[in-house]
Every structure is written in structure tokens, then in C-alpha cells.
Symmetry: C2
Subunit: 209 residues, 2 copies
Amino acid sequence: MGKVRVANFTVSIDGFSSGLNQRMDEPFGDNTEGLHAWYESAMVERDSGRGGPEADQLQRFHEQAGATIMGRNMFGPHRGPWADESWTGWWGDNPPYHHDTFILTHHERPSVTMEGGTTFHFTSAPIDVVLDRAKESAGDQDVIIGGGASTVRQYLLAGLIDELDLGVSPILIREGERLLTDDVAAALREFQVVKSYPIGNATFYNLSR
Amino acid sequence: MGKVRVANFTVSIDGFSSGLNQRMDEPFGDNTEGLHAWYESAMVERDSGRGGPEADQLQRFHEQAGATIMGRNMFGPHRGPWADESWTGWWGDNPPYHHDTFILTHHERPSVTMEGGTTFHFTSAPIDVVLDRAKESAGDQDVIIGGGASTVRQYLLAGLIDELDLGVSPILIREGERLLTDDVAAALREFQVVKSYPIGNATFYNLSR
Ligand SMILES: NC(=O)c1ccc[n+]([C@@H]2O[C@H](COP(=O)([O-])OP(=O)(O)OC[C@H]3O[C@@H](n4cnc5c(N)ncnc54)[C@H](OP(=O)(O)O)[C@@H]3O)[C@@H](O)[C@H]2O)c1
Ligand SMILES: NC(=O)c1ccc[n+]([C@@H]2O[C@H](COP(=O)([O-])OP(=O)(O)OC[C@H]3O[C@@H](n4cnc5c(N)ncnc54)[C@H](OP(=O)(O)O)[C@@H]3O)[C@@H](O)[C@H]2O)c1
């Protein structure tokens, strides 16, 4: 059986994973420039062929994932009922998931199959039911809880996550969605810090039960 | 004129600088083992004579400080009126400050001069008044806002801090005092991340106006 993992999730020094005013030209909102700068460094380092934590991180992210769950705000900037159903995410015609991808939302719409094997399913089912569907689809691969903070917090509070790769990037977001709120931090009771390692300008922490 | 600085302040991955149940044998409270492990590495590295960020960090901490302000909970585990006045801090007869050190407290007591030049002053004056006294005493050296979180938060919210050296250590404290609460993070509006650097197993961030 695969694991249920949060992978490549990145927060600022002050603990936010997105800023205020998410919009079409700022998917992460205000003050988030550089939040994922580490990803470019990781790709450069991987492509150098030298191996190292960067290559491991990216390989693990891309190869061991069999299904993804995300919140509707990670999928797009829309709120309330869909005006139309043309939006299929930020990622173009061939999204980087290549597997069943479940969008938590109060506003269901029909599933959409994209190029490259990604199918977006829109569901208002309880989070544990969505996880069961994702596990079934993933088989012996991992289910990735992709984000945003609201979605990851719900799964952490429900005790449904096995492992987190959490990056801290050297920026201040100042206001936005916080991952490790007091209730979530307290719910990490069973997690240990397995290792920490730099990737680009970020520091990553691997937290596991 | 010196700066007003927070130096060597360390938080956990989840953002806490102390845990619950501070007591005589756990000055930082529950789940804080390893919070300052970086300090040992820094001393070893400095004593190696190779220089580097560790040596700079310690030198700056010890040599540019002309006065310190701390909260009563950093000074000791006592709460409420003093039962007696025998407690003179965790640091033995010769505390590592060697200058005027102001303890914010609602329970004043006479100043105590220790070996090595540290004098503890107990004051219930407003924080800006205490800062003025500390600046006068520090002359052209820096005033260090030593901690804990409650004290640093008050000075940050009042806009009275010029610079912070903030370390993140690879531990989870889970419950305790948080430095960058939502109001404090929002108040960092004028701060930029000047640099980040590893010291031992911690990552440090230098934040300046
Ligand atoms: N820093 C990172 O690594 C990272 C990773 C991923 C995403 N992000 C960013 O984070 C932001 C989004 O995060 P977020 O915390 O605001 O939100 P989110 O978790 O992406 O989405 C929250 C929304 O999803 C729907 N939803 C969530 N749980 C639900 C449930 N149990 N049942 C039904 N609907 C549910 C609701 O939308 P409706 O009520 O409208 O349906 C809710 O408002 C974006 O800016 C994104 O770019 C950052
Ligand atoms: N992680 C780090 O780098 C670091 C650094 C320093 C300290 N610490 C730890 O942090 C913990 C203490 O932090 P903390 O946030 O609990 O408290 P703190 O800031 O050290 O002290 C708070 C106490 O100081 C007094 N006080 C604070 N502001 C005052 C004001 N404006 N006027 C009058 N009195 C005032 C009050 O005590 P009374 O009402 O009792 O007088 C208050 O309860 C300790 O465990 C310490 O070891 C950690």
C-alpha cells in the first residue's frame, strides 16, 4: 500500500503557504515571490546528473504519486458557483499530475480528462471518502495531498497523513493561509522530524509518523 | 547609535520558541530538546578557527551587545509575587550578559549586580521607556531584546526593532509560545529577508528594516 503524503509543500518564514488576493496573475497571492524558487534550483541540479537530495525529491514527487487531492483554491481563483465550466486549472492542456486528481469543492461539476492522463474529479464528499477513492485509484502508489493549507490542515487534523515534506523559503508572506495553526501543530503529536536538508534557498523538513 | 536587535532567537518548525510547563529542570518547557543544538555546533566551529557564519554569529552576539531586555519568564520559572528574592537567573554567578539587563515584570524588586558586570534591573515601566533606559546604558552598542516570545512580540508590534536573527531548528514543539503570530507577521511589513544561512542543524534568517 502507498502512503498518504504531503510533498513539496512550501511555507514562508512566518508560516504561510499563500498570501492575500489570489488572482489569475498571482496564483499564490500577495508577497509570494520566491516561494518556490527552490524548485528551479532542484531542476537545474537534477539535470546536472550529480544526483543529491534535489534529484531524489523531484523523482519521488513525480514517480511515486498515484493520485492527488487538492482544494478548489489550489485548482483556481474562482469562488462560489462556477460561472461556466471552462476552467481546467493553471497547468495548461497537459497538467503535471498524470493520474486521478480530486478537487474538494462545494460546487461539483462533471469530471474532465486532460491530455497526459490527468482526470479532474470535483467532489463534495467527506474528506475520508475522497481519500478512499484516491487510494483505490493509486493502487500501491502514494496519494499526494497537494494543498492548499486548508486542505492539508483538514487531513492532518483527521490523522490521515503519514508523511510531510515541508519546505521553508526565505520570504515573508505576512498575511494569508497558515499551515501549522495552533490546532494543527498540536495534532502533530505522532510526527517526528526524520531529516532536514537544503534544496536551493529553502530548507526542507521530512516529518513522518 | 547602536541597533535594537533580536539575536540568536530560535523557533521550532511549527513556530514556537518555548513549550508548555516551563520548570526548573526544563527552562524552555516540554518538547524543546535540540532547540539550541545549533549553538554547540557554532562554538565548535568557532573554536576551530576556520571562521565562517558560526564565528560571525557568536562574535556579533557577544561583542556588539551593550544592554539586554528580557521578559520575566526568560529570567526564571516564577509566576506571581516573588516568594523571596534569592533567584538571580539560570546563568549562575557570572551571567553571560556583562551589562545592564532589564527584566520586564509586574513584580519589581531591587536591582542585583552579579559578577562579570551584569546588573539585573526589574521594571514595570512601559516597554518604550525601558528601551530608552537600555539605549542610554548601551551607548553606541546594540540593545538586545533577548526574549521570550511575549517580550519580542511586544517590541515588534510597537515597531521598535531594527533587526532580527531568527533561527529555525528541526524540532516540533507542538504547543507553547509562538513568535510570529498573525498580528506580529502582519507587523513585519517593513522587514526584508537579508540573508539565510545554516548554523549547525538550524537555518538562520536575518530580517532587517
Ligand atoms: N505553498 C504551497 O506549497 C502551496 C501548495 C498548494 C497550493 N498553494 C496555494 O494555496 C492557495 C489555496 O489554499 P487554501 O488554503 O486557500 O485553499 P484550498 O485548500 O486549496 O481550497 C479551499 C477550498 O476548497 C473547497 N474545500 C476545501 N475543503 C472542502 C471540503 N471538505 N468539502 C468541500 N469543499 C472543500 C472550498 O471551496 P468551495 O467552497 O469554493 O468549493 C474551500 O474554500 C492557493 O493560492 C494556492 O496557489 C500553495
Ligand atoms: N527560543 C528562544 O530563542 C528563546 C529565547 C528566550 C527565551 N526563551 C524561552 O521563552 C520562555 C519565556 O517566554 P514567554 O514568551 O513565556 O515570556 P517572557 O517574554 O520571557 O516573559 C513574559 C512575562 O514577563 C512579564 N512582562 C512581559 N511584558 C511585560 C510588560 N510590558 N510589563 C510588565 N511585565 C511584563 C510578565 O511577567 P509577570 O507578570 O510575572 O511579571 C510576563 O508574563 C522561557 O521558556 C524561555 O526559556 C526562548
